[in-house]
Amino acid sequence: MILRTAYFLKRALRNMRQSPVLSMASVGTVAVALALLAFFAIAVLNVQQLTASWGETLAIVVYLDDVPDEKTVNGWVKDIENYPETSKVTFVSRQSAFERFLKRLGDDADLIEGLGAEILPASLEISLGDDWRSEAAIATVVERLRSDHRFNDLQYGQGWLEKLQAFLLLLRVSGSALGGFLVFAALVIVTNTIKLTLYARQDELEAMAMVGGTSLFIKLPYLVEGALQGLLGGVTALGLSFLVFQVVLQKSLGSLLLITGIDTIHFLPLIWQGMLVVGGSLIGLLGSLFALRKFVRFGSS
């Protein structure tokens, strides 16, 4: 069994060596299709993280014109924390708000030189639970807060969140559509590339059939070849997307993206990386399978 596997592997590698251009075309096609898919996955992943973090921070802010004593504030915090939709309530004093503002201004902090913490209001920042980050839940909480005379200056990033979620949905849908199209295109190209190699080796296929090679014996090296090409394409796609991630996303766009509130830009998780490589092999394998479907015959009937 092991000897047989080694034999088929050897023949597949030999086939690839004998048709380097066609092999490279297959590998390249799979690599480009999967790399584009990987870029989309990286974008979706990070925007998803962004919406999650914005969803958490951009919940509801209650501005306090007059800051009551600590005991009263703690009472308010507790009251709001008792809402079922609430996951966390944070009191941000004028001073904390001012420090946060200064930090965000960075090098431009001198713009507010001479001004003190009194320019900013204190606030209560209300984060909602994971299951409650919806338009309806925010509206319910806002309604409840409005009905309470203690809180009247409310701000919530509902519009932003919804826009961001819509953008994420668009990204997912377009990514899936484009990804599906690219995978299909890769499949068609791999199928045709392997068909070309089969045409080039038709004499070999005929000879194999003539001396008593079974269908599986004849097809297996080509299936292994397709899977190997797909595997190489998958690995190349992974390398390519990692390179782009390192050079473009982290170095060039990293600082730009940090402004939006993303602390770190993430690459694909390990399982996705594995899926990319396995996906490449599958594309290659299926491409070979389609190419071989009507190719190996044992004479007309």
């Binding site: 001396v211 008593g212 079974t214 044992f298 004479g299 007309s300």
Partner: protein, 233 residues
Amino acid sequence: MIQLFNVCKVYQGDQNALSDITLKIEKGEFVFLTGPSGAGKSTLLKLLYCAERPTRGQILVNGRNITRYGAARIPYLRRNFGIVFQDFKLLVRRTVFENVAFPLEVHGRKRIEISKKVYQTLKSVGLEHRLNYYPLQLSGGEQQRVAVARALVVDPLILLADEPTGNLDPEVTLDIMELFKNANARGTTIIMATHDRNLIRMFPRRIVSLAGGSLAVDDLPLFQGSAGTTGQS
């Protein structure tokens, strides 16, 4: 060994290639299949190794009816045959050794066994010194000898040769015929399609002659005994 009963083959477009052929070839026989171009010689050979299927009739090989063999059984049937073609059909990107080793790989033989058997067979056709050559580096005669070695390496029960000397000069033709004679002497049944009358005269064997897809003559050479069937029975 081989029996054909009322075999007909009609290709698409109503082209009648074979009509009502009934034939029996015994184990160990050497049969010349003759007739002009288009007589149906190649079609008859193709029917034997299931590259074509008969439109009507039955074919028995080694006692088994192969007429309705499915695709899965054909490879195993073909392992009983060695096939030699006029145009050699060698794999040009493989060495002489690899070409001859090929059928043994298909049969799943062990590597060491393959090496030994290939060397022996190439020695028997006088090409052991060309092991690592590629087919296109050889003369036509040498290429055909490689093709014969590829057919004989598996010790086939039946050797089918479709105009194997058609592209060769007379001297090389004699070499190839010697190889066939030796294989026949070892018990291999040989069916050789040819229209070379000189060859048939030089190597008197049973002659099955086709004309327009029908059996015209089935005759034994005079010195071997009485005449067989003449014409279609």
